[in-house]
C-alpha cells in the first residue's frame, strides 16, 4: 500500500484530492507576503509541488503554548494543510498522537531519516540556572536543544521567549533563562518574535523555507525584514492623529471612541517592529491598537522590562501635542501636511503589498 513515490507535496496533494484552488490560496498568501507579482504564484506553486514534505521537529521549552495556539490560527497556510500536505510535523507535544517513549522514538527516527535536512522550530526559552528547571523525558532543555540542532538545516526561534528570552528572562530572571541563540551558534537561526507572533507570520516564514529552500533576509535582531521591517507606528491607521496631536487620554473618552492615537496611554508602537498594523490578526480582523489598547512592544527584545506599559514613551519630540498644535496654529498646517505625506507613503506601501486573492489568480489565463 505504501508508495514512497508520493513523498512530495504535488503528488501528495493530487492523491489526497486537495483542490488546486486551496493550494493556490497558500501560494497566493506567500506571494502577497513577499510583495511578489501575481504572476509569480505559478512559479511558487511549481517549486512547492516538487519539494518533498519537509520534516519539522518542534521543541517546546519554557513556554506557555501561546505560540502553538497562534500557529493553529493561521488562515493561509492553514494548520490542517500544513500537517497533512505541506510538512511532516514529526514531533510536537501539543498536537502529536504518541506520548512518552513512542513520542521520543518519533523524534529520533525523524532526526535519523532527515539528518541535515529537517527544520527545527523552538518555542520557549532555555533555563541555564539549573538543568532540573525544565526537562523532557528526563533530559534537560539545553541538552535536547543541542542534540536536535546538530542535524537541523536551520532553526526557527518562534516567539519572544525563544528569540530573546521573553518573560522567563524578565527581571530578575529567576531561572537563568536564555534564548536559542545563546545556546546554538553554528546553525542559521531565524527569530520570529512576538508574544505570540502573528499566526500568518509564523507560517509565512515556514512557507518561505518550504518554497525557496533557504531563509529570508534578516534584520540585525535576526528577524525576517519582510515582516519586521517597519514600525507599528509608521503603518498604524491612527498615525494621522498622532501627527495632528489628537490623543485618547483614557480608555473610553471621546478620543478613544474616535480612534485617536494611544501614545499617551503608553502605546509602544513607535519603537516596535512587527506586521500587526499591516497583516493584522486573526484573518485581518483587528490588532491591539484598533481594539483600543496600546501596543505592548512584544516583538522587541526585553520588552517586559521596558514598561510600565501605560507610561507614555519619551520620544525625541518630547511634547508631540504641543509641537503639532503650534504647527497647526501657525497656519502652516505642518501636522496635516505630515499626515498627508504619511498617507501617500502608506498608499504606496499598500500598493506594493496588495493582497493577491485566489479570485485574482483565477482571472488570469
Amino acid at each position: 500500500m505504501k508508495r514512497p513515490a508520493a513523498n512530495n507535496i504535488g503528488s501528495a496533494l493530487r492523491e489526497a484530492g486537495i483542490s488546486r484552488r486551496d493550494f493556490l490560496g497558500f501560494c497566493a498568501t506567500l506571494a502577497a507576503a513577499y510583495a511578489l507579482p501575481a504572476a509569480s504564484v505559478g512559479a511558487i506553486a511549481a517549486a512547492l509541488e516538487k519539494a518533498p514534505r519537509a520534516s519539522v521537529i518542534w521543541l517546546s521549552f519554557q513556554e506557555c503554548t501561546g505560540c502553538t495556539e497562534s500557529l493553529t490560527r493561521s488562515h493561509a497556510p492553514t494548520i490542517e494543510g500544513l500537517i497533512l500536505e505541506q510538512i511532516s510535523l514529526d514531533y510536537h507535544h501539543t498536537l502529536q498522537a504518541a506520548a512518552g517513549e513512542a513520542a521520543e522514538q518519533a523524534r529520533m527516527e525523524a532526526m535519523r531519516a532527515n539528518a541535515g535536512k529537517y527544520l527545527l522550530i523552538v518555542d520557549g526559552s532555555v533555563p541555564l540556572g539549573n538543568a532540573g528547571y525544565s526537562t523532557i523525558a528526563g533530559v534537560s532543555n539545553v541538552d535536547m536543544l543541542k542534540e536536535v540542532a546538530q542535524g537541523a538545516a536551520a532553526v526557527i526561534a518562534v516567539g519572544t521567549c525563544a528569540a530573546y528570552g521573553g518573560i522567563p528572562a524578565a527581571q530578575p530572571n529567576p531561572t537563568g533563562a536564555v534564548p536559542v541563540s545563546a545556546v546554538i551558534n553554528d546553525k542559521p537561526i531565524v527569530n520570529v518574535p512576538g508574544c505570540p507572533p502573528i499566526p500568518v507570520v509564523i507560517t509565512g516564514v515556514l512557507a518561505h523555507f518550504l518554497t525557496f529552500g533557504g531563509l529570508p533576509e534578516l534584520d540585525d535582531l535576526g528577524r525576517p525584514k519582510i515582516f519586521y521591517g517597519e514600525s507599528i507606528h509608521d503603518r498604524c491607521y491612527r498615525r494621522p492623529f498622532y501627527d495632528q496631536g489628537k490623543f485618547a487620554e483614557t480608555f473610553d473618552d471621546e478620543g478613544a471612541r474616535r480612534g485617536w492615537c494611544l501614545f499617551k496611554l503608553g502605546c509602544k508602537g513607535p519603537v516596535t517592529y512587527n506586521a500587526c498594523a499591516t497583516t493584522k490578526w486573526n484573518n485581518g480582523v483587528s490588532f491591539p491598537i484598533q481594539s483600543g489598547h496600546g501596543c505592548l512592544g512584544c516583538s522587541q527584545p526585553g520588552f517586559w522590562d521596558m514598561g510600565p506599559f501605560y507610561k507614555a514613551l519619551s520620544m525625541p519630540t518630547a511634547n508631540v501635542e504641543k509641537a503639532a498644535g503650534i504647527a497647526a496654529a501657525a497656519g502652516v498646517a505642518a501636522g496635516a501636511a505630515m499626515a498627508v505625506a504619511n498617507r501617500g507613503k502608506k498608499a504606496a506601501a499598500k500598493a506594493a503589498h496588495a493582497p493577491v486573492t485566489v479570485e485574482d489568480l483565477e482571472k488570469k489565463p
Partner: protein, 587 residues
C-alpha cells in the same frame, strides 16, 4: 509482577507533564504526577505596576489565554475596590465564554479524541455508511457521502506517504480502540473541521481584545471603546482591510461579526460537538465506571450577572462538594486563611518555617529549591520532592476542579438546564447519575457545560447591544486609575472559573507596587503531588486501579489524564516572595 511505567512527555496537553506509575500485575497500584518546568512568573511580577500585572499573568498560559488576565485585573480591582461598568462585565463574560467554547472544542477534537478515535482505521470506512451514521446522530449539514469520501482520500494521501507526521507512532490498532471505522472517519472529518472553525471564532477575541492568543485587558474595565460615531463605522471589515482614520473595531460591523461568531459557536456545539460526544461515549461505557479519583469537587463560581461581588448573580455557582454528596454544597471563602492553603512537601520549593506546613496565598511563599536528580534521569524520587507543582488543599482536603465540579455544583443547585442536559445524556446512554464520577463523566461534563455557555453567549450579547442602544457606552472606570488615589497597602483576590476549573490570583500591593503575587490554578489542584499527609492529587487518585494492556502503549493512562485537560504551564509558575527576601528588598 511489578514494573515502573514512565510517560514523559505526556503529549496532547499544554505544558510539561510526567506521569510515573507502579504497575502491579498489569494494573496501576500507585501513580505520581510531576510538572517538569518552572519559569517563576510571580517572582518576575514583584515590584511591577499592578496595572501591568495582567499581561505578565496572562503569559502563564497561552491556551487559557483570557482567564489569567481576567483573574489578574479582578484581583487588582478587588484590592483597590474598583468597580467596572456593566458593559465591561458583559465584554469580559463574552470573552470568557468564547474562551470556554473554543478551548473545550479544541480539547475534545485535537487533544482528547485520539484517545478514543483510531485515525488509521478511518481508511477502512465506507463513506456512504459514514454519512448515514452522521445524519442519524446530528443535523450538521456537512455529512454527504462525497464529503466523507474526500476526507478519507485526504487522509489516505497522508498515510500512503508512509510519513504520518503528528500521527506517527500513535497507538493505532490497539485493542482498546472500539469505534467502528465509520465513526472513526466521522471523527477525523470533525477533527479537521474543528481546526478550521476554531481559527474563525477567535475573531470575537480579536475584535474585543485586538488579537488572539493573548488579547488585551485593562484594570477598571475593557480597553476597547465603543465606536459610536456614524462616520467611523466599518473599520473592522475585510481580511485585508488596512484601516483608515477613526473608530475602533467595536462598531456596527464588529458587533455583527460578534453575533455571527456566537451563531457559529452555537451551531457547531449543537450540531457537531454534543452529538459526537454522546456517540463516542456510547462505545466506551466502561469508562463511566473508572477514573473518578477524589470524589471532592470545588468551584469558585463565575460569569456575574450582578457584578463580581454578588455570587447570587453568577451563572456558575460557588461551592464545594465532599465525598460525592450532592445534597450539601459547602461554602467557600477565598479570603479565609484556614480554607485554601498550599503545601510543598513533595514540590521543589521550600517554606521558611518548614516544608510540612500549609500557607494561604496572601502569605504564600515559594523559594525554588530543586532537589531532584540531575538530568538525564530515569526515575523521580517520589518519596521526596518530585514536581514543580504545589499541592493546594481546601480545609485540608484534596479537591478536583473543572467541568465536572461545575456541572455537579449546578446539578446540586438544581439549575434547570443542567438537570435537563445531564438527564438527557444519561438517559441516552442508559447510565445512572453516579456514572458522572468517572473519566468519561468528566469528558461529557465538559461538553454539556459548553452547551450551557453557547446558549448564554446570546443573552450577554443582547444585553450589551440593548445597553448601547439605550445610550450606555461606558466601558471603563477611570476613577482609581492613578496610583496616587490608592491606599499605601491593599490586598485582593481575583477569581475566574477557567475552562479547566477554579482559578484565583491573590495580590498584595504596597506603595503602588506588587509586593506579593500568588496564583493557584486549576491544574495546580488537579495535577499536584501528594501533600504532607500523603493524600494524592486528583490525577494521581484517578489513575489508581487502571488496567494497562500494554505498558509501551499506555492508552488507558492518557484517557484519564486527558479527561482533566491538563494545563501544566498554568500549574507550574509558582515562585514568589518569602518574607525575608521581601523585607530585604524594600529596605
Amino acid at each position: 509482577m511489578s514494573e515502573r511505567l514512565v510517560i514523559d512527555p505526556v503529549t496532547r496537553i499544554e505544558g510539561h507533564l510526567r506521569i510515573e506509575a507502579q504497575l502491579q500485575d498489569g494494573a496501576i497500584a500507585e501513580a505520581w504526577s510531576a510538572g517538569t518546568m518552572v519559569r517563576g512568573i510571580e517572582l518576575i511580577l514583584r515590584g511591577r505596576d499592578p496595572r501591568d500585572a495582567w499581561a505578565f499573568a496572562q503569559r502563564i498560559c497561552g491556551v487559557c489565554t483570557v482567564v489569567h488576565a481576567v483573574a489578574s485585573v479582578r484581583a487588582v480591582e478587588n484590592a483597590l475596590k474598583v468597580t467596572i461598568p456593566p458593559n465591561a462585565e458583559l465584554i469580559r463574560n463574552l470573552m470568557i465564554g468564547a474562551q470556554y467554547i473554543h478551548d473545550h472544542v479544541m480539547h475534545f477534537y485535537h487533544l482528547h479524541a485520539l484517545d478514543w478515535v483510531d485515525v488509521v482505521s478511518a481508511l477502512k470506512a465506507d463513506p456512504k455508511a459514514t454519512s448515514t451514521l452522521a445524519q442519524s446522530i446530528g443535523s450538521h449539514p456537512q455529512s454527504s457521502p462525497g464529503y466523507f469520501a474526500d476526507v478519507q482520500k485526504r487522509l489516505k494521501g497522508l498515510v500512503d506517504t508512509g510519513r504520518l507526521g503528528i500521527f506517527q507512532n500513535g497507538y493505532w490498532g490497539h485493542p482498546a480502540y472500539r469505534l467502528p471505522p465509520e465513526a472513526n472517519l466521522m471523527a477525523v472529518a470533525h477533527y479537521l473541521e474543528a481546526l478550521a472553525w476554531q481559527r474563525d471564532v477567535v475573531a470575537l477575541h480579536a475584535i474585543l481584545g485586538g488579537k488572539n492568543p493573548h488579547p488585551n485587558f485593562v484594570v477598571g474595565g475593557a480597553p476597547i471603546a465603543i465606536s459610536i460615531y456614524p462616520e467611523h463605522q466599518g473599520q473592522g471589515k475585510g481580511p485585508h482591510y488596512r484601516g483608515g482614520q477613526g473608530g475602533t473595531t467595536l462598531d456596527v460591523v464588529g458587533l455583527e461579526r460578534i453575533q455571527a461568531v456566537i451563531a457559529s459557536m452555537k451551531s457547531f456545539v449543537d450540531q457537531v460537538y454534543v452529538p459526537d460526544t454522546l456517540a463516542i461515549a456510547g462505545f466506551y461505557k466502561d469508562w463511566f465506571k473508572q477514573g473518578e479519583g477524589l470524589g471532592n469537587f470545588l468551584s469558585y463560581g463565575d460569569l456575574p450577572g450582578k457584578g463580581i461581588d454578588d455570587p447570587s448573580g453568577f451563572l456558575f455557582p460557588r461551592g464545594a462538594i465532599l465525598n460525592r454528596d450532592l445534597s450539601s454544597l459547602h461554602e467557600v471563602d477565598l479570603d479565609a486563611d484556614d480554607q485554601i492553603q498550599e503545601y510543598v512537601a513533595h514540590s521543589w520549593y521550600d517554606y521558611a518555617d518548614g516544608k510540612d506546613k500549609g500557607r494561604h496565598p496572601y502569605r504564600g511563599e515559594t523559594n525554588i529549591d530543586y532537589t531532584g536528580p540531575q538530568p538525564p534521569y530515569r526515575h523521580l524520587p517520589v518519596e521526596q520532592a518530585y514536581s514543580w507543582i504545589k499541592s493546594p488543599r481546601w480545609k485540608g482536603r484534596a479537591m478536583e476542579v473543572g467541568p465536572l465540579a461545575r456541572v455537579l455544583t449546578l446539578y446540586a443547585k438544581g439549575h434547570a438546564q443542567t438537570k435537563e442536559l445531564v438527564d438527557m445524556a444519561l438517559k441516552k446512554l442508559d447510565l445512572p447519575v453516579t456514572a458522572l464520577f468517572s473519566t468519561m463523566g468528566r469528558t461529557a461534563a465538559r461538553t454539556l457545560e459548553t452547551k450551557i455557555l453557547a446558549d448564554a453567549m446570546q443573552g450577554w450579547y443582547d444585553q450589551f447591544v440593548a445597553n448601547i442602544k439605550a445610550g450606555d457606552v461606558s466601558t471603563f472606570n477611570e476613577a482609581l486609575w492613578e496610583p496616587s488615589s490608592w491606599p499605601r497597602h491593599a490586598q485582593g483576590v481575583g477569581f475566574v472559573e477557567a475552562p479547566r476549573g477554579g482559578l484565583a490570583h491573590w495580590v498584595v500591593i504596597d506603595d503602588g507596587k506588587v509586593a506579593n503575587y500568588q496564583a493557584v490554578v486549576p491544574s495546580t489542584w488537579n495535577a499536584g503531588p501528594r501533600d504532607p499527609q500523603g493524600q494524592p492529587g486528583a490525577y494521581e487518585a484517578a489513575l489508581k486501579g487502571h488496567a494497562v494492556h500494554d505498558a509501551k502503549q499506555p492508552l488507558e493512562v492518557l484517557r484519564t489524564i486527558h479527561s482533566f485537560d491538563p494545563c501544566i504551564a498554568c500549574a507550574v509558575h509558582l515562585t514568589d516572595d518569602n518574607d525575608d527576601a521581601f523585607a530585604a528588598r524594600v529596605l
